[in-house]
Symmetry: C2
Subunit: 231 residues, 2 copies
């Protein structure tokens, strides 16, 4: 259903529509590959097509939409190769973020993130790591590392672009049984390296952490194309 854009002050309509539309895309309300109808969307959000088109332009630059002239905007649809490319890019950027966080993250932020990991541990113990909250916890951790790097550009690319794509596809990247504990453990190791101000180790561990996700995904894909190998 259409939520007609709760009105916030200080923001332009175009910005509010951008946020609402991005949210709808990322939560899967608009499926990957589906076409966006401008008059319909404009009615839905209660705005004219002007601000809506500005929002579409923004989201195109953020790589969430792909528009073809005279044909319209479609939600981006990543194939397997492009999802792997997303992991590869994250690996580089998040590795660097961890490296820089080891140099620059404030002690108080490290302590707070440590507490957050305790909360994640409790949650996993309680509900066995329900996939949704597990993902949210994972995003939380990576979000804070990206913020702790003290590099606004790096943070912006990760939060505004890559994490949104990742959120879109989290259902395809769903984690396996017992993965939650392992991920939490890796988070702890990364944070320990940051706390030790060991930049090299922090980067290496983060890269492995992201690469592990990519490899699990590659594995899950190759099972379909070559199912004979695993049983």
């Amino acid at each position: 259903m259409a939520e007609p854009l709760q009105l916030e002050t200080g923001l332009t309509l175009a910005e509010q529509v951008t946020a609402a539309l991005q949210r709808a895309i990322v939560t899967g309300e608009f499926a990957p590959g589906s076409k966006l109808n401008e008059p319909e969307l404009a009615r839905r959000y209660g705005v004219s097509r002007g601000p809506l088109r500005e929002a579409i332009s923004r989201l195109e630059a953020r790589r969430l939409l792909s528009v073809t002239p005279n044909s319209g905007a479609r939600v981006i649809a990543l194939d397997t190769a492009e999802l792997i490319a997303l992991f590869e890019t994250r690996e580089a950027l998040e590795g660097q973020a961890a490296r820089l966080a080891a140099r620059r993250m404030a002690e108080v932020d490290i302590a707070e993130l440590s507490g957050l990991l305790d909360a994640h541990a409790a949650q996993i113990a309680a509900d066995g790591g329900c996939a949704y909250y597990q993902d949210e916890g994972d995003f939380d951790f990576h979000y804070r590392i990206a913020s702790g790097a003290g590099n606004a550009l790096l943070k912006g690319i990760l939060l505004d672009d890559l994490y949104q794509l990742l959120r879109m596809y989290r259902f395809r990247l769903s984690v396996s049984e017992g993965r939650a504990e392992q991920a939490l453990n890796e988070h702890r190791q990364i944070l320990a390296a940051i706390s030790d101000r060991d930049a090299d180790l922090a980067e290496m561990l983060m890269r492995r952490h992201v690469a592990a996700g990519r490899k699990r995904f590659e594995q899950s894909q190759s099972e379909y194309s070559a199912p004979a190998l695993t049983h």
Copy 2:
């Protein structure tokens, strides 16, 4: 002067204005920090404010403009810390690009790039490495590595976002005497590693190459804040 937007077919006015405006920003025609006047720009490019505002929205998402509601758009103005952040981000992405290029770049592209480096060498020998052409040669090299990585996302972030920022500020990042030969030498080493399919070495060399640029810039900045050391 106003070049009223040479008309190309198949592209939206908004897209053409985006390209023209980005070009004007990147070449320094609009200085960093300067304000963009919408009616004036619309007249200049011979379009209405609709497509112009879409172009502004796109360039804001690409981090070339920063717009504040009800106040307008300004060309981005990077301070020293933000330029360092740009180098740090490039270091991670270009390092990864070199790593992936070592795995995926086609032999024919490697050979062609090798020939391009020969041309650069000849150019440096001829005119002593005039700063402008030297920069263009540098961009050429990095552009091809980014393309050779076989990762459209990584390539897009580098070409659409980071390299544009870099071009904007190349005058502040101008190279010193004799730097051209050294850069060319580093390019040769990187390409050799790629040709050997040595991903680890290619990444390391590229990271050092970018880091060297960052360090020269940091050096040039600290000279002003602490001039007594080098007098």
